[in-house]
């Protein structure tokens, strides 16, 4: 088991290096620091001196990969690649355009993101499983048929409309909660109710339809037929047998997103004015703050790889055959 986990962790290293190279290529080779400077300073009326100054302030004036002028080991370390990309592995993110420390910013903004993402995740999972189980229980009836139709219809609505509709109905028409904003501490609840509600409702369509097929697949198995043949009630079969076994693919399937909950939700956070990592990223994209985008790409990838690792580990808990390979 331990050997398996270690092996899996080692697999992650080349992937991380690959991600680092891709982001480096995207941010420095395809789009040179000169282009960045021109974009930040405004395309027109920009002097070569201003560009040089901008680059020097941010340490972008060094050679990209190999500094022939520097002495000894500094030939490799005194470069943009080493200073901006390799240091990401040590979780040093540098400074944003407004000269704030990105690492610091991430540590404070992580909490509002989690405060939104964790309830959405947990409540959403519970609601989707309930709906899916209901549809599977009433399979091949009108209830199931219209349930699936409703799911497809809900999947066909852009997430933007869920947010806009929720804000309009609940905040503007009924004045139940503030339309957007955030406060720390227990007051956060009144700001979070609406985003959580919208997030859960927006996920029902695809989630419950997917879980419904998992339930139906499980219900076609032999042990279910045996359970019915024993004369068990349909509800006992559903809750004691099918639900437990279908939870395995459901839970191993969602493990991968758990670490990504840290990243927050791009759209919901910026609509609801929650100062989390998602809105941070959107602001950075819109302000073309490359240092922040680069850091978020890296963190997101690391978290995803962590999710893959957790998925692999969860499989070994669920299915002992995996450990033997």
């Amino acid at each position: 088991m331990t050997a398996y986990i270690i092996r899996r962790t080692l697999y992650a290293i080349p992937i991380l290096i690959g991600i680092n190279l891709i982001t480096f290529a995207l941010f420095f080779l395809v789009n040179t620091p000169d282009d960045m400077a021109r974009m930040q300073l405004g395309v027109k009326r920009v002097t070569p001196e201003a560009i040089e100054k901008w680059k020097a302030e941010r340490g972008y004036d060094k050679p990209l990969l190999w500094n022939g002028a520097a002495p000894g080991a500094h030939k490799a370390t005194d470069t943009i690649f080493f200073e901006k990309s390799v240091t990401l592995f040590a979780l040093e993110f540098g400074r944003a355009e407004d000269n704030r420390d990105i690492g610091n910013e991430i540590r404070t903004r992580m909490w509002p993101s989690l405060a939104l993402a964790i309830p959405v995740f947990l409540v959403g999972l519970a609601v989707n499983i309930t709906f899916a189980l209901g549809m599977a229980f009433f399979r091949a009836t009108y209830l199931d048929f219209w349930g699936v139709i409703l799911c497809v219809a809900m999947m066909s609505i852009s997430s933007l409309f869920y947010i806009i509709g929720g804000q309009y109905l609940i905040s503007k028409l009924w004045h139940l909660v503030p339309i957007s904003g955030y406060e720390g501490g227990p007051d956060a609840v009144k700001f979070l109710v609406l985003p959580v509600l919208v997030g859960v409702i927006g996920g029902i369509g695809s989630g419950s339809r997917w879980y419904r097929t998992l339930f139906l697949e499980e219900m076609g198995r032999d042990y279910v037929r045996t359970a019915r043949a024993k004369g068990l009630a349909e509800s006992t079969v559903m809750f004691r047998h099918v639900l437990k076994n279908a939870l395995i693919p459901i839970l191993t399937g969602v493990v991968v997103v758990i670490p990504l909950l840290f990243m927050g939700s791009l759209i919901a956070e910026s609509f609801f004015g929650i100062p989390g990592l998602g809105s941070y990223t959107i602001d950075a994209i819109q302000a073309q703050d490359f240092a922040v985008v680069r850091s978020m790409v890296f963190i997101g990838s690391v978290l995803y790889i962590l999710g893959l690792l957790l998925t692999d580990i969860s499989y070994t808990f669920v299915d002992p055959r995996v450990r033997l390979n």
Partner: protein
């Protein structure tokens, strides 16, 4: 002067390819069979009516030209306007040219904002001025209700007439040719469509059916123009995704060993980078490229078109991983089967085995995943445009419409019509695509047939 934008060319090539494929498979029973199964589903038939109308609008909007300017000197070479128009623009000329000053509500006769209006006596009052076009034909504003009701009824009558004609024509031709298709569903869908389009067309002749936006242009016109953007993103992306996904997927599953390791590494790496961020980074790069090479794009339309195309390329370059993973799994299974081993034993080359034995047997996966991807891409466009990394702001799309309307959420009374229009059209398009995709999956997936 005709203008061939890059996306136009690709759209027509794709349309030709789809038509060619349809013709090819209609003559081969084993290829036609799954499609026959798809079109036995009522949902598929009904949704394909809607999709066909959307596609027709999109294709009409993909024939561009630059109108000739009125020549001052008949001897001089003809001059052309900088503005690029499409055939759809010509058909919708009344909608396109009837500009108001600013917002106006659907079917309104007066502007949304108060303005200083000069009375005949020389006095000025602040009031909601009459619209330049919306309801301008009314002599008395009090006739508004009667006029709208008349137009609605006339539109419905027109719809019923057209519908009866279409049904009669179809009875003689289509129904005889393919009797097993549930034509009732098609007739119902066509009826619903005409019942919406008929009154809308007659109302649009005198009013703004979905109101006007901030600069006073008709929202219905924008929504109709957005269809092309959605279709382009949903379909052209596959042009990039398809070759990459197929090549990577089947070679990983077939050659195994280091090829498999490398391709798996490649798609795990690409997958681990958060999609929106990678798209954002790539789009920013494209923007820098456009800004630094202004000479390559003589007109604004070409610039916007380049951005649209590069968005498709970026989405495709990131989206092939899912298809590759599916194909890899299926090819792994196939390559162990006896007929592939027999082909090896006969000394058939790798290329021939891949082309003749593997590819046709994974084609159903390719078709299913393409159709399933479409609706996701249409929805993604709206989100990306909201983030600011989608299409060019000058391109009309559902994303840019929502984005512009969002700014006015706080107004009192609320400006809701742009959102409503974008919602209706997007919902119809995506729902039709989803229902069609489900039917395609059921028709093609051998596992579903039990």
């Amino acid at each position: 002067m005709p203008v061939l934008l890059a996306t136009d060319l690709l759209v027509w090539l794709l349309a030709a390819a789809v038509a060619g494929f349809a013709w090819y498979s209609s003559r081969r029973p084993h290829l036609a069979l799954p499609w026959a199964r798809v079109f036995r589903s009522r949902a598929a038939v009904a949704s394909s009516v809607f999709l066909a109308v959307f596609i027709a609008l999109g294709l009409l909007d993909s024939l561009h030209y630059r109108p000739q300017l009125p020549a001052r000197d008949p001897a001089a070479a003809p001059a052309y306007a900088v503005e690029v128009r499409s055939l759809l623009d010509v058909l919708l000329t009344p909608l396109r040219t009837k500009l108001e000053k600013t917002y106006s509500a659907p079917l309104a006769t007066r502007l949304y904002q108060k303005e200083q209006v000069e009375l005949p006596g020389g006095k000025t009052v602040r009031e909601f001025p009459r619209l330049a076009h919306g309801g301008a034909h009314l002599k008395e504003e009090s006739h508004w209700g009667r006029d709208v009701a008349l137009r609605l009824l006339a539109g419905l009558a027109l719809a019923i007439a057209l519908w009866s004609l279409a049904v009669l024509a179809a009875r003689r031709t289509l129904v005889r040719r393919w009797p097993q298709v549930p034509w009732g569903a098609a007739a119902a869908a066509l009826g619903a469509l005409l019942a919406l389009a008929g009154p809308a067309a007659l109302l649009a002749a005198g009013y703004h059916v979905f109101g006007t936006d901030r600069v006073g242009s008709d929202v219905l016109y924008q929504a109709l123009k957005s269809i092309r953007t959605s279709l382009v993103i949903g379909t052209l992306t596959t042009l990039v995704l398809l070759p990459a996904g197929i090549a990577a997927g089947i070679s990983a599953g077939y050659f195994k060993g280091w090829v498999d390791d490398f391709i798996q590494y490649l798609y795990t790496t690409l997958n681990s980078i958060p999609g929106v961020l990678l798209i954002a980074a790539s789009v920013l790069m494209v923007q820098v490229y456009v800004d630094t090479h202004p000479g390559l794009f003589p007109t604004a339309a070409q610039r916007a078109d380049f951005r649209l195309l590069s968005l498709c390329v970026i989405l495709g370059a990131l989206g092939w991983t899912g298809l590759a993973r599916l194909l890899r799994g299926e090819t792994l299974k196939l390559s162990e089967l006896e007929y592939i081993q027999a082909a090896h034993a006969f000394g058939v080359s790798h290329a021939r085995i891949l082309g003749r034995h593997i590819l046709p047997n994974v084609a159903h996966i390719v078709i299913i995943s393409l159709v399933l991807d479409f609706s996701g891409l249409v929805l993604a466009e709206a989100v990306l445009s909201y983030v600011g990394v989608g299409v060019d702001p000058s391109t009309t799309s559902f994303g840019t419409m929502i984005n512009a309307a969002r700014m006015e959420m706080a107004r009192e009374p609320m400006v809701w019509w742009s959102l409503a229009a974008a919602f209706c059209f997007m919902f119809a398009l995506v729902l039709a695509a989803n229902l069609f995709a489900d039917a395609v999956r059921d028709g093609f997936d051998p596992r579903v047939r039990v």
